[in-house]
C-alpha cells in the first residue's frame, strides 16, 4: 500500500495514502473527538465534533472524512478547532435531555465523556435539564428516547448497512428532525428484527434495551420460586469489559461466581443445549442429506436471523432447521428434565438466561415456544449489560470474585458449544459431529479454520465419506441477504448454511457491552472477543458435542435418540411468514 507522510501537530507521521485526518491523528496517538463517525458505514461528517485545522484549507475540515495528502500539516488542537468543537458540543447538549445521574448510560456515554473533556460548565441555550422524555417503545426489546438522541445516525447506518433492515431513518427536517420509522409508525409495526445493533452503536442513552432485570430480581426475592440461570456462550467473552477487563478476557469463572452470589438456585450453561442443538441439527442435516430433504439446511439459533428470514426471505423457511435456539432448548429442558430430576413443579421453576442478544427478549414469547404444561419455556432473559448492572447493584466486587464452576446438573459441555458465540462456530461444531457420524471415523483435526474469522460470508467444502459437502457462513443480515440472493439466483448450491443475525455472531450481539466509537473505529472488538472463545475451545478436553457424557446421559435416560418424538416435543419449533409491514398491511385490509 502506498503511504504519505503528514505532520500531526508537528510530528511527521507516515500513514496510508487513503487514510483520513482522523486516522493519521490516531497513528500519532491523538484521539480527535467523534460522535457520528463509524468506520465504513457512517462516514457522513455530520456531527462536526471532529473539525480540525489543516494548513491551507479555507476552514476547519471534518477529520473523519477528510483525506490526507503528502506533506499535509494537521493541527488537531488549535484554538480555532477547540473552540469550534466546544461550541458545537454546547449546541448538541442544548438539545439533549440532561439527566446524567439517572441515565442508563451514565459513565458509558460518549457525549458525557466529551462534555467532561471539553469542560462544559455551562450550556447557554435551550432547557436541557427540563426536557421531557420522548419515548418510543413498541417492540419487546427496544426503548428509544429521542430526547437524548443527538442525531448521529449511527443506528440508522447499522440498521441499513449491516442489517439490511433500514426500518429507521431521519423523519422531518431542521430542528424537528428525529429518528423514527417510516410514516411515523412505531418500530413494532416495521420489519425490525430486534437485533439491537442500534443500541450497541448509540453514543448516548437514546437507545436502550427493555428492562428485564426487574422481574429477575423479583423472582430471586420470591421464596416460592426456584430460579435457575443459564449463560450463553458469548457472554463469558465480554462480561469482563463491563468491569474494566481487557477486551477478549474470558470471564466464565467470575461470572459463575457472581451468578451464584446473586442468589440463583442453579447456575447452568446454555452451552449444554448448544451441544443438544448440534445433535438435533446434525441429525436433521444428515437426514435431509440422505433422504433428499430441502437443502441447504440453515441454522436457527439466532432469533434476529429467524425474524429476518420470516419477514424478508420467507421462501427460505423450509430450509430452516426446526431446532429451537439453545436458549429455548435450555428453558424446555429446565421445565421438563430438570424439574423431574429435582422433583420441583415446573410451575415453580423460573428460568432465566443471560444472553448477548436483545432478540431473545422477543424470542421467549414467540409462538410454539412452550413445551411443558402450557408454560413458556423461558421466563426471562437479560443481556450481558443487564447482568453487569445486577452485579454492580448487588455490590459484588468483580476484582475479588473467585473463579467457580457451573452446577453439574446442566453444566457439562464441549468446546464445540463454546464457539457457538462466534460466527462460524455453529458450523464448526456441527461439522465436528456430522463428519464423525457420517465417516464413522475420528477426526484427526478438529479445527475447521475456513469457517472462522470475521468476513461477512465464508464458504468451504469438505469431502465427507465420499460426498462433497458445501457449507457457507454469514453473519449480519446484510450478508445473509447477499448469501440468500446468491442461492436464489442459483449461483451457489450449499448443503449447510450458518446464519447469525449480528455481524461477527453473538460476540457482537445487540446485548453486549457497549464500546464507544473511539474504540470500535480502531480496534477489532469482535476478533478479540472471538479469540477468547476459540482459545477456551482449544484448551478443553471435550471438544465434540456428541462425546459429552452429560449429553449422552440426557439422550440415554430422557430424550431417547436425536430427532426422537420426545426430542421434537421439547427441542423443536416452527416458523411462519410474517408481513414486512404488519401495521400498514392491516391498514390496507381495513381499506
Amino acid at each position: 500500500m502506498s503511504t504519505v507522510t503528514v505532520k500531526v501537530n508537528g510530528m511527521p507521521i507516515e500513514c496510508p495514502s487513503d487514510a483520513t485526518v482522523l486516522e493519521a491523528a490516531h497513528l500519532a496517538g491523538i484521539r480527535i473527538p467523534t460522535l457520528c463517525y463509524l468506520k465504513d458505514i457512517n462516514e457522513i461528517g455530520a456531527c462536526r465534533m471532529c473539525l480540525t485545522e489543516v494548513k491551507g484549507q479555507k476552514g476547519l475540515v471534518a477529520a473523519c472524512v477528510f483525506p490526507v495528502s503528502e506533506g499535509m500539516e494537521i493541527d488537531t488542537n488549535s484554538k480555532k478547532a477547540y473552540d469550534a468543537r466546544k461550541r458545537t458540543l454546547e449546541l448538541i447538549l442544548s438539545n439533549h435531555r440532561m439527566e446524567c445521574l439517572t441515565c442508563v448510560r451514565s459513565q458509558n456515554c460518549e457525549l458525557q465523556a466529551l462534555a467532561e473533556e471539553y469542560g462544559m460548565e455551562e450550556v447557554r441555550f435551550g432547557t436541557p435539564k427540563e426536557m421531557e422524555p420522548d419515548i418510543e417503545q413498541s417492540t419487546p426489546h427496544l426503548i428509544r428516547d429521542n430526547s437524548k438522541c443527538i442525531l448521529c445516525r449511527r443506528c440508522v447506518a447499522v440498521c441499513k448497512e449491516w442489517q439490511h433492515a433500514a426500518v429507521i431513518g431521519p423523519n422531518d427536517r431542521g430542528f424537528a428532525t428525529h429518528i423514527g420509522s417510516p410514516f411515523g409508525r412505531g418500530l413494532g409495526e416495521m420489519a425490525c428484527i430486534n437485533c439491537g445493533q442500534c443500541i450497541n452503536v448509540c453514543p448516548t442513552g437514546a437507545l436502550t434495551e427493555v428492562d428485564s432485570a426487574t422481574s429477575v430480581w423479583e423472582a430471586l426475592a420470591d421464596p416460592k420460586k426456584h430460579v435457575v440461570v443459564g449463560t450463553a456462550p458469548a457472554v463469558r467473552a465480554t462480561l469482563g469489559e463491563e468491569f474494566g477487563d481487557p477486551i477478549g478476557t474470558n470471564a466464565q469463572g467470575k461470572m459463575v461466581a457472581a451468578l451464584r452470589r446473586l442468589g440463583f438456585d442453579g447456575v447452568f450453561d446454555v452451552d449444554v443445549s448448544a451441544d443438544l442443538t448440534i445433535l438435533e441439527e446434525g441429525t436433521e442435516f444428515i437426514q435431509r442429506l440422505q433422504n433428499g430433504g430441502v437443502l441447504p439446511l440453515i441454522t436457527s439459533c439466532s432469533p434476529g436471523w429467524i425474524r429476518f428470514c420470516e419477514q424478508y426471505y420467507p421462501e427460505f423457511i423450509p430450509n430452516l432447521s426446526s431446532c429451537k435456539s439453545p436458549q429455548q432448548m435450555f428453558g424446555a429442558m429446565m421445565k421438563s428434565y430438570y424439574a423431574e430430576k429435582m422433583g420441583i413443579k415446573p410451575e415453580d421453576i423460573f428460568v432465566v438466561t443471560v444472553m448477548p442478544c436483545t432478540a431473545k427478549k422477543y424470542e421467549i414469547r414467540r409462538e410454539d415456544q412452550s413445551s411443558v404444561n402450557g408454560l413458556w419455556d423461558m421466563d426471562e432473559t437479560i443481556t450481558t449489560r443487564e447482568l453487569a448492572k445486577m452485579i454492580r447493584k448487588a455490590g459484588l466486587d468483580w476484582a475479588s470474585l473467585p473463579e467457580e464452576e457451573y452446577d453439574p446438573d446442566f453444566g457439562e459441555f464441549s468446546g464445540a458449544a463454546v464457539i457457538f458465540g462466534a460466527s462460524g462456530g455453529v458450523m464448526e461444531a456441527a461439522l465436528r459431529t456430522v463428519v464423525e457420524i457420517l465417516t464413522e471415523e475420528t477426526l484427526p483435526k478438529l479445527d475447521f479454520v475456513d469457517v472462522r474469522g470475521l468476513e461477512g460470508i465464508k464458504e468451504a467444502s469438505y469431502d465427507v465419506a465420499g460426498t462433497t459437502v458445501k457449507v457457507a457462513v454469514a453473519s449480519g443480515t446484510q450478508n445473509a441477504a447477499r448469501l440468500l440472493d446468491k442461492i436464489k439466483a442459483g449461483e451457489a448450491d450449499y448443503h449447510f448454511v450458518e446464519i447469525m443475525g449480528c455481524p461477527g455472531g453473538c460476540i457482537n450481539g445487540g446485548g453486549q457491552p457497549i464500546q464507544p466509537g473511539s474504540v470500535r473505529n480502531f480496534v477489532d472488538v469482535s476478533a478479540l472477543r472471538a479469540n477468547a472463545l476459540y482459545t477456551a475451545d482449544a484448551l478443553m478436553k471435550m471438544r465434540k458435542s456428541h462425546e459429552v457424557p452429560l449429553i449422552k446421559k440426557l439422550y440415554d435416560t430422557y430424550l431417547g435418540e436425536p430427532g426422537s418424538h420426545r426430542a421434537h416435543e421439547l427441542l423443536h419449533t416452527s416458523y411462519r411468514q410474517t408481513p414486512k409491514y404488519p401495521g400498514l398491511d392491516a391498514d390496507k385490509n381495513e381499506n
Binding site: E43, I44, G45, A46, C47, R48, M49, L51, G59, L60, A62, V65, F66, P67, A84, R87, T88, L91, I92, S94, N95, R124, F125, G126, I150, L151, R153, G169, P170, D172, R173, G174, F175, A176, T177
Partner: protein, 597 residues
Amino acid sequence: MNFVRSHVLVCGGTGCTASKSPEIIETFHSELKSHGLDKEVSVVQTGCFGLCALGPIVVVYPEGSYYTQVKVEDVNTIVEEHLLKGRIVDKLLYKETDDKGVERSLNNTEFYLRQHRIALRNCGVINPEMIDEAIAFDAYQALGVCLTEKTPEEVIEIISASGLRGRGGAGFPTGMKWKFAAASPGPVKYVCCNADEGDPGAFMDRSVLEGDPHAVLEAMAIAGYCIGANQGYIYIRAEYPLAVRRLRIAIEQAKEYGLLGKNIMGSGFDFDLEIRLGAGAFVCGEETALLTSLEGHRGEPRPRPPFPAVKGLFGKPTVLNNVETFANIPWIINHGADAFSCMGTEKSKGTKVFALGGKIKNTGLVEIPMGTTLREVVEEIGGGCPNGKKFKAAQTGGPSGGCIPASLIDTPLDYESMAAIGSIVGSGGLIIMDEDNCIVDIAKFFLEFTMDESCGKCSPCRIGTKRMYEILEKITQGRATLEDLDTLEELGNHIKENSLCALGQTAPNPVLSTLRYFRDEYEAHVVDKKCPAGVCKDLVEYKIITDKCTGCTACARICPVDAISGKVREPHVIDPSVCIKCGSCLAACKFGAIIVE
C-alpha cells in the same frame, strides 16, 4: 411556413398564466376567427417578458406595442382597434415618459434599456413549445458547431475564456468545473441540471425553462460532449408544473429532430435526458444534496471531497450546473468568449438575471451586466420604492444572502463586491425594503426560512439556527439583553464556519449582515424596547391622539376585539391590554389620529 401580417405575443409564464393569460390567448383565437383575421394574425404563447408586476403582458408586432395588465375583456378592443383598424390601444400601453413628457418606446424604457438579455434572450420572443421557433432563433446551432467543428477541449476552453461562473449561487468557474469532470476517468459520467430554484422570490430559472427550454437542453448536450457523458438529468421542483410540461415537450421534440438521443446530428455522439421531480426542499439546491435526492434518497448534503466532478451522481463523475448557467452556454459558443467576457467586471463576467421583488415598483426579472450598481437596479430599472417611501435596504441572494444598507447603494452587483460587504449574488434574488420594514423582523423572517429548511443532518445548522432564531424572538419581543446580541453574532459566525453545506454556511448571513449595518436598530429593540419601524408587535403601542380624534367611531366599529371605547363626537381611547395590534383602526382612521409608537 405561413406568413402573417401581425404577431400577437402573449406571456405564458407562470405569473401571467395565473392572471389568466391562457384565457386571453383563447379569446384572441376566437375573436380573430370571428373577425376573419385568424389567417392573417398569429397568436404566440411566449415565455416571460420580465415585467411581471404589469402582467398579463401582450405585445403586438410589427408595431411592438407593449400592452400591460391586459384583461380578457380587453382582447376584443385590441382585435377590433389595433388588428382590424390599425389603431394602437393607448389606454393599455405601457406608459413611461421621459423628462420632456415624451412617451418612450418599449426598448427605451428604464426597465429594458439597461438590460442585456443573454440567458433570457428568447424569453418573451419565441413559443417555447415549438422547437422550430427555437431553431429559428439559433437553438442547437452551438451544439452542431461543437459536435462537428470542435474538440471537447476546445469547447471547454471557450467556456473558460468567457469567464462564465456558476449562476446558482457559489459562482464557481464553469469551464473549470467541466475540465475537472472531463479529466475524471471512467466510461460513465453524468450531466445534471439544477432546476430546484428554491430561493423565495427568485424565479429566473423557472422563466428560462418556461420561455426557452431548448437553451438548457442544448447546453446540457454540449456539457455531455465536453466531459464524455451520455446521460443527463434535470432535477426540477414539482412546484413548477408549467416548466416541467414545457421541458417534457422540448425533450420530446428535440429527440424527434435527432438533437437528443442516439447519434446526434450524425456525429456519433449520444446524449439522453431525463427529468426528475424534486419535492421542493430548499437544501436540494445544494449540489450534493441534489445528487443524493436524484439517487432516490432523502435530500441531504454529503461531505466534500470527493467533489461531484470526481464522484457525483451514483458515484460517477458529474457536472452539475444551474439552469441560468446552462442558458448562457449556447450564446457564448455562438458569439464567442469575448462577446461574453467584455461585459461585467474583472472577475465577474457576462450578465446576471436578478429577480426584483419586495418594495419596488417594477417587480420582475431583469438581466443586467455584472457590476451594474444596486442604485441603477433599484432607482432606474426598478423605478424606486412605491408610494414615495425611502429605500432602506436590499436583500441579495435570498435567505442565504446579506442585507445591503442604503448607504451602500452604489455597490456594484458582482461576486467580489457582494462578498466584500458580507452578502452574495447567490441565485439573484433581490428583495427591496423600505422604511416600513423592521430589519430585525426581516432577518428573523429569513432565518426562520433556513431554520425550517435545514435538512437536520449537521449539528451547527440544525441546532444553531434554532438557537439564533430563539434569540431573535427574544429581541423582537423586547426580552433580550445586549449580551444576546454578542451571542447571536458568535453563534452566527460559528454556524457559518462549521456547517456541513452551503445552506448552513450561509444561513446566518441575513442576521450577520444586518447586525453589521443596522446594529442601532437591534439595540433600539434591546435597550429602548422599541421597534423603530413599528413592525414588532410586542414593542409597539397603538394610540389615539386626542386632538385629532373627531369621535367618528370608525375605529371602534372596526376593532375586532373591542379595544376602543369612546362616545360619539368625543375622543376615543385604545385599551392596550385588549389591543391585538392588528392595525385595522390605523387603516380605518381618516384623520390621522391613530399612531403607532
